[in-house]
Symmetry: C3
Subunit: 451 residues, 3 copies
């Protein structure tokens, strides 16, 4: 009646996982106790912030909490369900996504907060802005998670998260605070960083015999429909993601609008290229689930700029095409030639579109003039003056991409080797993509025979 399908061994999580979770959480709690305090808008001393009277409706909460909730849904439902496409790894996809995200957002609050206060000293302030920034960092970790999905134990992933949160925050600090780059939606800081970091980790963890021993690295009918829940929430809320942390008012409005057009155009190019590249003209669910989102990634830097709906749609269209082509041609090449096993194809959804987004951001910065932006120029580009022209800003954007790639690639390799240590209970090849290794799973007999 309730057959237990998976008969193989487990990987020894009984002590490893509790020790990792409890130790990390206790450390987090202590550090929060020592170093964190409420932001002014949270503690109620908001009136001291400005000389003018501070009304309730000016509390940062009302400007940003709806966007935060959209981002939160992307992190937990979006990423979580997008990865449930695997036929026998749905519990792990959505469950470990949940665990890694809940951990990463706490650590990110501390590390990002520490770097924010490194100049000025003082305690780390938390509020809705820190919540969004922590979710952003978490998103980057989950992108890397997509590259190693199915092939790593939860303790390996928690370990990866520790290092990646730190490296992400350092890179973000360099880009935004030292180089004065603009990257509100994180084409560089989130997507490019997360993708290339994860690709390097999975490269170091290469499993030469994976394909031969394991046939579970694919979808079934219902799992692909579950994954579409993830896709659609990511797609719908990407305008909120890119605009969550921009300045109030017209800039936030513009960022959401540009992203919306980019995604719409991206969807049509995804369908076009998916059908075109199939010998029968059939659509591939993998493309629709992933490439249709590339338009949001590719506008992560430029969406707050005056790129216009016209420009946004061109970028979105290109991003969708690049992403489908990547799934069709580059992913097989990465696997066979470069030994990079990229489970979710993050190179196609986050890697190449992230680089495209960085380039688009640099080019759009180059075109920033008083004529187009009016008094809003300094709001979008606070550094641009007669001494620091738009071309200098564009240069900083380009340098930022190089820095991001450097930190991600080198960091990913180092962390990959750390994850190779034989202490995490990593699954064997035949245990990959199998929920039964980590979860109590019951399946009807028909399924067990089938798979």
């Amino acid at each position: 009646f309730k057959p237990y399908c998976y008969q193989g061994a487990t990987v020894g999580m009984r002590l490893r996982l509790p020790i990792a979770c409890i130790a990390l959480e206790v450390i987090l709690i202590i550090l929060f106790g020592v170093a964190v305090e409420y932001d002014h808008d949270v503690s109620g001393e908001a009136g001291h912030k400005t000389n003018t009277t501070h009304h309730d409706y000016e509390n940062e909460f009302y400007y940003r909490y709806p966007s935060f909730q959209d981002v939160h849904v992307m992190i937990f439902i979006g990423f979580g369900f997008l990865m449930t496409f695997l036929q026998r790894y749905g519990f792990s996809s959505v469950g470990f996504n949940f665990l890694i995200a809940a951990f990463s957002l706490q650590l990110a609050t501390l590390v990002q907060g520490f770097l924010h206060t490194i100049m000025t000293g003082g305690k780390i302030h938390v509020g809705v802005e820190s919540m969004i920034n922590a979710d952003f960092c978490t998103g980057s970790v989950l992108i890397s998670f997509g590259a190693v999905l199915g092939k790593t134990s939860p303790v390996q992933m928690l370990t990866m998260a520790v290092f990646e949160v730190i490296l992400f925050s350092v890179n973000e600090f360099i880009l935004l605070s030292l180089l004065n780059a603009k990257d509100a939606g994180g084409s560089m800081t989130i997507h490019t960083f997360g993708a290339y970091f994860g690709l390097m980790v999975t490269r170091v963890l290469y499993r030469p015999n994976l394909d031969k021993s394991n046939k579970k690295n694919s979808s079934v009918y219902h799992s692909d429909i579950f994954a579409m829940i993830g896709t659609l929430y990511l797609w719908m809320f990407w305008p909120s993601f890119n605009s969550a942390i921009t300045l109030h008012g017209d800039i936030q409005h513009r960022t959401a609008l540009n992203t919306y057009y980019s995604l719409a155009a991206c969807t049509l190019s995804t369908y076009a290229f998916s059908a075109l590249l199939n010998h029968e003209g059939k659509l591939d669910m993998v493309h629709i689930q992933n490439a249709a989102l590339a338009g949001g990634v590719a506008l992560g830097t430029a969406a707050e700029m005056m790129i216009t709906p016209f420009g946004s749609m061109i970028v979105g269209f290109l991003a969708g095409a690049i992403s489908v082509l990547g799934y069709r041609f580059i992913t097989p090449f990465l696997e066979s030639k470069l030994k990079i096993q990229d489970t979710c194809g993050v190179h196609n959804l986050h890697g190449m579109p992230g680089i495209l987004g960085a380039i688009v951001g640099a080019i759009t910065s180059l075109a920033a003039t008083k004529e187009h932006y009016g008094n809003g120029l300094t709001a979008v580009f606070p550094k641009i003056t007669s001494d620091f022209p738009a071309s200098a800003q564009a240069g900083m954007q380009a340098i930022s991409l190089v820095v991001t790639l450097g930190i991600a690639l080198i960091g990913g390799i180092i962390v990959g080797f750390i994850l190779k240590l034989p202490i995490y209970g990593a699954p064997s090849d035949s245990q990959c993509f199998e929920d039964g290794v980590y979860w109590e799973v019951y399946l009807p007999n028909a399924y067990c025979i089938e798979l």
Copy 2:
């Protein structure tokens, strides 16, 4: 291990779909480049809008973006998952819904924007209001999509969308701008129009032998649970839908509140009539998935008026009853006698409740007095004066229903014949309701044998 269930032919989408998508998107991009610019609240010149200082929190974005996101979820998750009830058409339901919606919202922005500027000239302005209006038009296209679901190729549906977006926008312009009708939630413009347009299209595309050759036009257990995701999101966010584009403040507040009560009452009448009409007293998932939403449709015109919770609940209760009765008695009649094959039963969810909503709107307008509305009378009914009494407004509402039905019925017939041209790769009868015609599908053997 990974049997390929569907062994039949495809319908030649390899060139047709890419050509359609790319051609349409390139045209859209060019037209956006020529004709579209940011609205004031998007470009940052908002200060010029009024003489008073314009604060960030007065930006239209903060009044409407949360409602927009709710509407967006209804369009992509709500409509998309509601249609996944079919056992072997889940990819197409959610996937083509995604494609058609992403296309329609772009075209709708242009056509609606063009009609808005036809008097004054100037460029088309885009912002959060245009985003909501475009989603509304898209909703109407998706209603028609529900009538033809399973029986049309994606290129047919894109073609239908082109014509329907134009006709929708013309009808909306006549109603709202020329006839000065009120229809904030679109009982007429969205639901009545979309339903009767789609019913006429499916009438022209009648397939006499469909039932004999195809047994896939039904649900299975899991597909009905997926469909409930769509239902519940539509139900929960319908208050946001009806109020998304109303005036700020108390009117938006009231519209959401009235819709919420209508839906709650509708749900109880749906359960009551679903059990009553079954010879064993068993509930039918089709009723619950659809009829429980009729309360939102039926308040699409009157929700912003002083209809009171009492009135809203009566309307909702009637709408649920009518809708269940429609599924039980009218849909079989339409199919057997009028040769209208209505896959999702849009006549019951959008058609009859839409007409009910138009009538309720006319009657409620008739009762509009200074006594009930106070100074808010001109906010809700800007045309009502001593020269243009409430009865004249009610007359305009009634004429609007007639105009909508006329354009929908005639337009639907004409577009139906356009879709009959043998150039779209329409599926044969045996290919209807089958994902394998359009998608790479893998199913466990148990499923293949079964279905």
Copy 3:
């Protein structure tokens, strides 16, 4: 092709359910007609509310509607899908959740509104605040629903809802209006009350032979993934739940923030204890689906107070641990020794964490000083003065817990006996946990043979 799996008898819902639904809805409509009117912010006479000009952006709608929608999603998707974990009770879980919730929110509006006006007289005012409060009461009913899930007919559950809404509202009135307790997120009013009320009902309805005759009281693979949709929406939106009805500005901001940290910490402790208590170190989906939410329950009273992220995380960590331990040790004890069959384990998710939340709230109140709260002290604790010190407030909090437990336990027993009357069409033991008793269900043969 479409085998009808369930061959057994039905329970006579054909007249019972329609009569119950129609009678209740008609009574509701009449009472709404007699007793309800729009709140000022809804009817448009908001300008009279204060002497200062009332701007649109000060309408309560904009402060609370996004939170309301998050709460609404928790009620209909969160609770509804969380309960779809049962293999053959998905339609009933999500469908009866829908019915009971749509009914309860209407009745709650009336009963809560009546008690609010009992002192002052006048009509019941409705607006976004009444919508949130009604959803809160509904949440409590759905918690009790989780305890009796699978073992009661829909008419039994509607009957339970009638009594529970009244008792909930009386208890809430005693706590908030008479005892001046603080409980914005309802650790006591919603969770403790709903859990112990439901546990008493299921105790009275004890079925001694249930386990022997019915093997459907368990999950399958896909049903557990559906349930994770419910879990994640509850988890993500719990910050909105706890803060939905708090005062504007920093208090709402702080409540959301504290809840977010509690939940994050709770998730790590849930994973830790779930693995630790399994002899192979495997995670149990039941724990992840439920215990990870206990951090939100446990902060339902204290989240608006100055508990700090540090304190919130400690509470969340403890709540997760207690909840997993409850599933592992206390639920079997309750069933075997106390004859309490708790289908969803509401004692672990809502009962014990609710009591913990009440205690945390009392302790945190005890520490309320002008030093920590500044001018915000009277905003959070309007009663605290030199005559009514923080210790008195803490005492009121403790008394409130006792009152809640008393009303819930006694009320649950009485209502349990009312539900034992042989008039509701209660299912037999073999009909428990079976959708086919209430719904038209079609399943592929493979499933029918299997289960």
